[in-house]
Amino acid sequence: MEIPYTVTARPDTGLANPKLGIWLFLASEVMLFGGLFSCYIFQRIGAEPGYWPHGLLNVPIGFANTLILIASSVTVILAWASLKMRKFNQYMWFMLATIACGLIFLGVKLTFEWPPKLGHFGAILKKEALVKYEGFLGNEHLAERKLEPRVEISGHLLPPESYAHDAVKKELHGRALIEAVVHDPNVHEFKVVVDPENANPKDKANERPHFIPRDRPGDDVEKKLKAEGKSEEEIEKDLEHRNMLAVIHKEDVQWASSFEPKHNNYFATYFMITGLHGAHVLAGVIVFVYFFFTGRALYRRNPEQLANRVEVSGLFWHFVDLIWIFVFPLFYLL
């Protein structure tokens, strides 16, 4: 028993089954991402001024990833065209290029984008405490420029040695350190090596995201400490002098954590959408790997069917690219 129209098109509809199937699936995916984007819209319009952050994502990396994904869209359609013209070896090269681009996209995301956020600390201050930390927030200046206020001090926590009374375990760093410090009842303040926006809050250059990211000094404070052999007190004095050390009292803080989904709705939405998008990229890569390794056998049996399968999965891949084309400006630039 054969199912008709699996490879050739039905005359009155003009379609073969898989193509109709993938378009129906893509329709449901549009609705899925539609639900996710409606969350983005709702959260963003409902956010108080100052509570939807900007400039926290690395634009060059996002830009590069966008180009990589567009390139992979081109290579996958060239792979399909190669199959239609019965050039099998060329198909293999283009498919390999597509897989490589997909893996690079995921690799970049999972090594350069997500992990650094987990070690990045942010403390959202209570409204009544905003005035106290004006030196790091610069809200008067922002109000004059009719911009949204800053409500958060972000940066990197000083290593455990800086906390008195052995309050925090010595070997902790990154997210574990942040969680320990936040939840430890014996620690009453956060010592943060602040990001440039808080070190120089009145600098115009800090009002919007940068294409070339500014140095995040907290990134290698630990290294500096060990390299220079300076004592903690000396380092702290130096940072204070440069307005780079913020000592925030816990009772002034509304919410503190690393830059993870629970930090604020911006990150929740960002991680959710890029996470689900990444899962779709991975699914596409797996399908392409499958076609890469099993393609030869099917090509010998029925080259048109392989071409159709590559076309259909290419449609899925273009959709994934399409979603990213919306994600990039919405999260990285706006």
């Binding site: 008709p4 129209y5 109709l20 449901s28 609705m31 108080e48 919410w255 604020n264």
Partner: protein, 637 residues
């Protein structure tokens, strides 16, 4: 296949087919890609869960009638055995180390928490694990490919994957009953903020509320895969001559229902992912700022919107209610045409109505949210679209009612259920019309009036249609007839007692009696006192309704093994294509190629030799177009 192979396809003898090989028992009956097996799997799963959902409600009815008195006798023993023996520790809810809430049972009494668990699960199970698998997926899988003359669905392996995804979701859901804390208890609607932290004190991911979300994700995946299969099959695999307007109305109903699921379900999946993140990663998608739980600030950053969940949930759940009713209308249409021996009145109008209904169903959802503080303009929009959507529903019902006029009615068991469907669905649908107005909904929202309204549609509505469909297509699936006496006993018992359950609820609701009160409103005696005593009569009707299902279960199981064998492949003398196959159909369904010559309901055609003209029968004197190679589907490749 080359041109020569078409002759082979025309042979009944499959031995020439080089792909034919004997499948083992597991591949034939369990992990099968055959739409008929999958349809039966869906149908049995759905029926089992419908019964389970009924049992949950029967226990709840005791609580409503008798508060926290111990459950009696055998029922109490069974409930105790399955749901454990917890002691209420309702008072020591601590946070953030976690709440410790009462278990489902205290001794043999259903606790308040237990009532909430049963209530939430009754709704979830009936809607997503009972009706959708049984009425939609089960019948659509089994009947639709047969009705369009197809050998199977376009994507048989995806079809199998969709059933097993449902199976996984069923396992997860059942598992959620036995984990500490019990199953989900935040309503079938799972509203945040409660659903964002309920069961937080129990195991981190393996608690009932989180497992509910995981089960829903698998359930939604199953529905999506199934829906795209149904649509693709109907577009691509219709037999030659079967134009869209010659399709049986059941197929139209499945087509539209599949589109509703395809486009609406993913939005709930997105929302479910967000709620999962709220629960597992501590995000605040739906958690508002400043939430205090049991006297302490909740450990969320805040800034989220509980309303967002409601928008996303009801964006699905409103089309979902049409998913619940449309397959039923399709089934009933088939049975009415067959048992009145005349065509359906207004077929074209019904098709137009179903399209309009589907389109509008996506833009009415906020009539479930009138109480959330929507302003006049947006309320007016949703009230308008909701009132407009009542028009196609009434068209569908009216066309079916008019189809009875002048018919030569045979009151077989399927026809009894199908005929009863009409006034029952009528009551349910018409009582919904006042609810379209937010001024009325202000008073009736979350009262028993609402319960009565939607239960009339799904219980003596859709479930009656499911029964009708089972009795009608049982001979096709098994080659045996079900027993008529037991069928009639089942029918009359169900009809009488189901009205005994839901009829009084309209009036209870109008006095203000609220939903989800575990003790049936005892606490609010001053306001609703005069209708409270009806609770006992309603509960009694519910238990007798449960008993009335026993003839059906006995009939079903007995008839599979020892029912009277059919004397022809078409015991009902029906016109549609599924009756051209053997009973039960074999692999590939049709023995000879099919060509369709006429519409689906050509009964009592003047001048014809019998009172039905099957779709695939050539008109007298005309050539048999199915024998011509270039028109058969097999020749297409």
């Amino acid at each position: 296949m080359s041109a020569q192979a078409t002759d082979h396809a025309a042979h009944a003898d499959h031995a020439h087919d080089e792909h034919h090989h004997e499948l083992g028992w597991w591949r034939k009956y369990v992990f099968s890609t055959d739409h008929k097996v999958i349809g039966v799997q869906y149908g049995i799963t759905g029926l089992l869960f419908l019964f389970f959902g009924l049992l949950l409600m029967l226990v709840m009815r005791w609580s409503i009638a008798h508060g926290e008195q111990p459950l009696p006798g055998f029922i109490g023993w069974i409930t105790h055995m399955f749901f454990g023996n917890g002691v209420i520790t309702w008072t020591d809810y601590t946070f953030p180390s976690g709440p410790r809430m009462g278990e489902v049972l205290s001794g043999w009494s259903l606790t308040k928490e237990g009532y909430n668990v049963f209530g939430a699960m009754h709704g979830t199970i009936m809607v997503f694990f009972g009706i959708v698998p049984a009425a939609f997926a089960g019948f659509a899988n089994f009947v639709m490919p047969l009705q369009i003359g197809a050998p199977d669905m376009t994507f048989p392996r995806i079809n199998m994957a969709s059933y097993w995804s449902l199976f996984i979701s069923c396992v997860i859901l059942l598992l959620s009953f036995v984990v500490p804390g019990g199953a989900a208890k935040s309503g079938w609607t799972s509203y945040p903020p409660l659903a964002g932290f309920a069961d937080a004190g129990f195991w981190h991911v393996l608690n009932g509320q989180t497992l509910w979300i995981l089960a829903m994700v698998f359930n939604i995946t199953a529905s999506l895969l199934g829906s795209l299969n149904f649509i693709a099959t109907m577009v691509q695999l219709r037999a030659p001559g079967l134009t869209w307007m010659r399709l049986p109305f059941f197929c139209w109903a499945i087509f539209i229902t599949a589109y509703l699921l395809l486009l609406a379900f993913p939005v709930l999946e997105a929302a479910a992912v967000m709620q999962l993140m709220d629960r597992v990663f501590g995000t605040s998608f739906f958690m508002p700022t400043g939430l205090i739980v049991n006297g302490q600030p909740a450990a969320f950053a805040g800034g989220g919107s509980p309303l967002l969940w409601q928008h996303l949930f009801w964006f699905l759940a409103h089309p979902e209610v049409y998913v619940l009713i449309l397959p039923a209308i399709g089934i009933v249409t088939e049975i009415i045409a067959n048992n009145t021996r005349k065509p359906i009145w207004g077929y074209k109008m019904m098709v137009g109505a179903i399209f309009t209904l589907a389109f509008l169903s996506f833009i009415v959802w906020a009539h479930h949210m009138y109480m959330t503080g929507m302003g006049a303009k947006v309320s007016a929009f949703f009230q308008t679209t909701t009132i407009i959507i009542s028009v196609p529903s009434v068209i569908l019902l009216t066309a079916l009612l008019l189809s009875l006029w002048g018919g030569s009615i045979r009151f077989t068991t399927p026809m009894l259920f199908a005929t009863a469907f009409l006034p029952m669905f009528g009551i349910g649908g018409l009582t919904g019309i006042p609810l379209a107005f937010n001024a009325v909904d202000l008073y009736l929202h979350d009262t028993y009036y609402i319960i009565a309204h939607f239960h009339y549609i799904v219980a003596p509505g859709t479930i009656f249609a499911i029964f009708a469909g089972v009795y009608y297509w049982f001979p096709k699936a098994t080659g045996r007839m079900m027993n008529e006496f037991l069928g009639k006993l089942h029918f009359w018992g169900s009809l009488i007692f189901i009205n005994g359950v839901f009829g009084p609820m309209f009036l209870q609701g109008m006095t203000g009696m609220h939903r989800r009160w575990y003790d049936g409103g005892e606490v609010f005696k001053q306001t609703v006192g005069e209708v409270l005593y009806w609770n006992w009569w309603i509960s009694l009707s519910a238990w007798l309704l449960g008993l009335a299902q026993l003839p059906f279960i006995i009939n079903f199981v007995y008839s599979i093994f020892a029912g009277k064998r059919v004397t022809s492949d078409n015991p009902w003398d029906a016109t549609t294509l599924e009756w051209e196959t053997p009973s039960p159909p074999g692999h590939g369904n049709f023995i000879k190629p099919i060509h369709v010559y006429r519409g689906p309901y050509e009964y009592s055609v003047p001048g014809a030799d019998k009172d039905y003209s099957p779709q695939a029968e050539p008109p007298p004197g005309s050539p048999d177009l199915a024998a011509t190679p270039h028109l058969t589907p097999a020749a297409a490749h």
